[in-house]
């Protein structure tokens, strides 16, 4: 028991370093995924036909393919196009595209749920597309977007663990290293599990806060 505790104490900084990488990955992925998702969702609802078709193909292909396959596809394919891509970059791009596809669908659904008269009223006031989206449509979509968006964000935090398979030194990678070096398994695994749990519970809290903030009298 004492041996285990001191082993954890000695290796905790390694794991926290891994946590740092996991957090940076998560923030980047959620950020890019959200941007792609909002643009994608708007394109799917109000884009020209060619854009809608293109986005539909993107969304359906990415959502029907395992994240891991997407990741390896990028990792092995990019060099063939003469693009050097690191494991870290691969994870960011693959997971952003994945999150972007899911959030596109979420945003599309939420925008579609807004009564048609809202766009009529906004246009009748003389609003052009982007201000109408910013001031009228997106704020009304938010209550429907935030809960599934939070779920997607949590899936992405968990998804960063796949970076392990590209030898990116994230939390899971560092944990596995420590386990193999010390021969102590469960205490480290459960420490890692609790860290993931903590991060995701914080993310849920943030989601709830967003929900509150985006509520209006109904």
């Amino acid at each position: 028991m004492e041996k285990t505790l001191s082993a954890i104490a000695q290796n905790l900084d390694l794991m926290l370093g891994g946590l740092g990488v996991t957090l940076v990955l998560s923030v980047l992925i959620i950020f890019f995924g959200t941007i792609i998702g909002f643009l994608g969702g708007m394109g799917l609802t109000s884009g020209p036909r060619w854009l809608k078709a293109l986005l539909r193909v993107y969304v359906d292909i990415v959502r029907g393919t395992p994240l891991l396959v997407l990741m390896f596809l990028l990792f092995y394919l990019m060099p063939e196009f003469g693009v050097d891509i690191t494991g870290f970059q691969t994870v960011v791009v693959a997971l952003s595209l994945f999150a972007g596809a899911h959030i596109s669908e979420i945003v599309r659904g939420a925008l579609t749920g807004i009564p048609k008269g809202q766009a009529d009223a906004a246009k009748a006031l003389g609003l052009t597309y982007w201000p109408m989206m910013r001031e009228i449509m997106i704020p009304q979509a938010m209550p429907a977007v935030v809960p599934p968006w939070t779920n997607t964000a949590i899936e992405m935090v968990k998804g960063t663990s796949l970076a392990f398979l590209l030898s990116v030194s994230d939390l899971l990678f560092e944990t596995q290293n420590v386990v193999e070096r010390t021969g102590i398994a469960l205490p480290f695994y459960f420490t890692a599990a609790l860290i993931y749990l903590a991060v995701n519970l914080l993310l849920s809290r943030f989601g709830h806060w967003l929900e509150q903030r985006n509520r209006y009298a109904a």
Binding site: I61, G64, T65, P66, L67, L68, V69, L70, F72, L73, Y76, L77, E80, I154, K158, G159, S161, L162, F164, L165, L172, T175, Q176, V179, G183, A185, L186, Y189, A192, A193, Y196, L197, N200, L201
Partner: protein, 230 residues
Amino acid sequence: MFDLDWNIVLRYQDLIVEGVIIALRMTLISFAIGSVLGLLLAYARTSGRSWLETPATAYVEFLRNIPLLLIVLIYYFGLPMVAYKNFPDWLADAVVFDGEGSMIVALSLYYAAYLCEVFRAGILSVGRRYLDAGKSIGLTNVGVARYITVPIMFRSVLPSLTNTAISLFKDTSIAMAIAVPELTFAARKISTDTFKVFEAWLTVGAIYLVIAWLIGAVMRALERRIKWSV
């Protein structure tokens, strides 16, 4: 630009077919076990008894917030290390599985948490009114469950069940991390053995897409066969 050589796919077709079979086998078994566990958890979470609700809720929250890959590693690497040191041999032998078995356990435990939430939503959507109606015609509690609430619940959760099944199928790809020769493993092997990166990954990506689509189509056909809706 590229020398595409699709013959490579044919040359490795045994590996690919084997990969599909293993992926589907893992999907089916895990989905079955996960559904049973999930249903039990869902009834526990809606039982109104806190000694059932609290542990069920803790289980679901814990499992849904940690990576599947971590669960896989715990079961595949961590458990044997502990089991053979601390358990009697017969017990250690009983709980330790090979790669595919470990993956099935991990998937079942992980998806039980998701399926619990699916079924819980279904249970809540059935609500009291059907229950009361059932009782009022003289059915017992078991009768109400068997003829009324469970069928209505399954009907209402069928679409979510489809999505969960597709997610589970896609997540079988993670088994490659512990060298289970499923589809993604096959793709990686072909692409590193032959450097036919395009052919390997595009073929396997397409297979995943088609199967995911087929699972959706089968489930939707099932939905259509049920003429009533909730």
